[in-house]
Amino acid sequence: MNARTARVTILVWLNLFRQAVMRDLQFRSQAWLHLFAGIGELIVGILPVLILTTYVRTDSARPEAAVLTVGVFAITTGLMDCFVTPGLRRFDSAIRKGELDLALVRPVPTFFYAVLRWIQPTELGRCVSGTAILVVAASTFDLGLGPEGVLAMIAWAFAGTIAYCAFWADLTLLAFWVRSIEPVNDLAAAWRGAGQYPRQFFPRTMQIVLVSFAPAALIGSFPAEQLLDPTAGLVLAPAVVLVSCSLTALIWQFGLVRYNSASS
């Protein structure tokens, strides 16, 4: 991508974001309801984790780790559901109805226009709730977090969000090969829920899956662990982003070759 295309892409994205905010301001009552529903989903997600934690009385499962996990998970999923997943959920339909043609002829990267142009600003309410949870947890448990831990958490939460979005996109891109694969979005959303539980509760094999192939732990429990105990090398975070994005780009290239434009 050259500098001009990058500039145009950023300008288009800013306009899309402005358009999304204007839409939510037009339909205010719906926007408020969706905001509350998003926070409600967060609460419904938190409760099973907190209920489970109340029954664990060993040192290995620290309650502060569980609460921090929930806070990080709220922020990362809020970002995903604002900027990425609305487009991924529409991708199957775009392939089936030939709407991808419209993205192909635009002077911006096709993947960007096909997937990232649907934005739901109300989902950012979850990021605010997640940040509040982190702040309250830090002061309640008197964690005394250092800048190193905060930096490690932010870096891994960012890398994890991109990696999980890439994993979700890999599943969605199956639409190039399989007809009507739209429910894989529900599968990706359901699997994502594993990230809000402390990692040590899962069996060993599952823990490996959750930080590699289907990286749900990277959007919740793993960054929260880094906040408390920053041990994993930060140099690995860019590698995670690079590998996951490369795989998605590869699948996208193969899929695009197969696309035969349903509308033309």
Partner: protein
């Protein structure tokens, strides 16, 4: 309803179910992906709760109870679920309802046919997935052998499914008054997913919530049907069966009331 009307409705329903099944057969991958997502949540809960118990967690239920519950929950959730609200709301908003209002059978027959046929197709896909899920945990799964228990389970399932369908019709019918009911439907699904016991068994929730959990309706759609199989003594289920029947009756009356009141407001867009 006369015998002739009932026979005609039955005949239309059979035809609609056949049509729906043919259509669903065209979307096989849709079914597989959908059922995989249905199994994912209980699978995560199962692994995490068993892991927590291995780490010293002491919930108020046994490991066998928890395992059997979480293996069965995806099946029961699917069989009692309903998804007609947004389609009903759309047909009201766009005026597609007109086509059904002039027909000599219930307006909701198509939704019932869609619900029944999709559940039949989903059952065929979900059963093998649940069986695969059950294999690694088979030593901890305890199911009753008495056929009476399974009949009771079937009855509780039908009642739960009827209640959820009525709730769905109520939410969909709100489109007679509101342009968009998506957020309301999202709230209903949110409440149902947590309070029905689809995420975690109601019996592991805090004891202080007990009185509320026993009277709220959603628990009678998922947790209670499973309880008919897992309760150690069948005589303890009497109260639950009575409360479930009361909720079903109330849901039927409320759905009928909202639907009739809404129809009076309907102006038939597109007619």
């Amino acid at each position: 309803m006369s015998a002739h009307t009932a026979r005609r409705a039955g005949s239309v329903l059979r035809s609609l179910v056949g049509q729906e099944l043919q259509m669903i057969a065209q979307y096989r991958w849709w079914l597989v992906a959908m059922q995989a997502s249905v199994v994912a949540v209980p699978l995560i809960s199962l692994l995490v709760w068993r892991g927590a118990m291995a780490n010293g967690a002491e919930p108020p239920v046994t490991r066998d109870y928890l395992t059997t519950y979480l293996v069965l929950v995806s099946l029961v959730t699917m069989l009692t679920s309903s998804w007609t609200a947004r389609f009903l709301a759309e047909s009201i908003r766009l005026g597609h309802l007109n086509a059904w209002l002039v027909r000599p059978c219930s307006t909701h027959l198509a939704a019932v046919a869609n619900n029944v046929s999709e559940k039949l197709a989903k059952l065929a896909t979900l059963l093998p997935l649940v069986a695969i899920l059950a294999v690694p945990f088979h030593r901890d799964i305890e199911l009753p052998a008495h056929p009476g228990r399974w009949l009771l389970f079937l009855w509780a399932l039908i009642m739960g499914a009827t209640m959820m369908f009525c709730f769905d019709v109520i939410v969909g019918s709100l489109a007679f008054w509101w342009d968009d009911v998506a957020a309301m439907d999202r709230f209903r699904q949110l409440a149902a997913s947590f309070l029905s016991g689809a995420l975690i068994p109601l019996s592991v929730m805090p004891a202080a919530w007990g009185p509320f959990l026993q009277v709220q309706p959603f628990g009678y759609a998922v947790a209670f049907p499973i309880e008919t199989l897992l309760a150690p003594d069948v005589t303890t289920l009497g109260t639950g069966l009575a409360v479930q029947a009361a909720w079903v009756l109330l849901a039927l009356v409320a759905a009928r009331f909202v639907w009739v009141r809404g129809l009076r407001r309907y102006s038939g867009a597109g007619a």
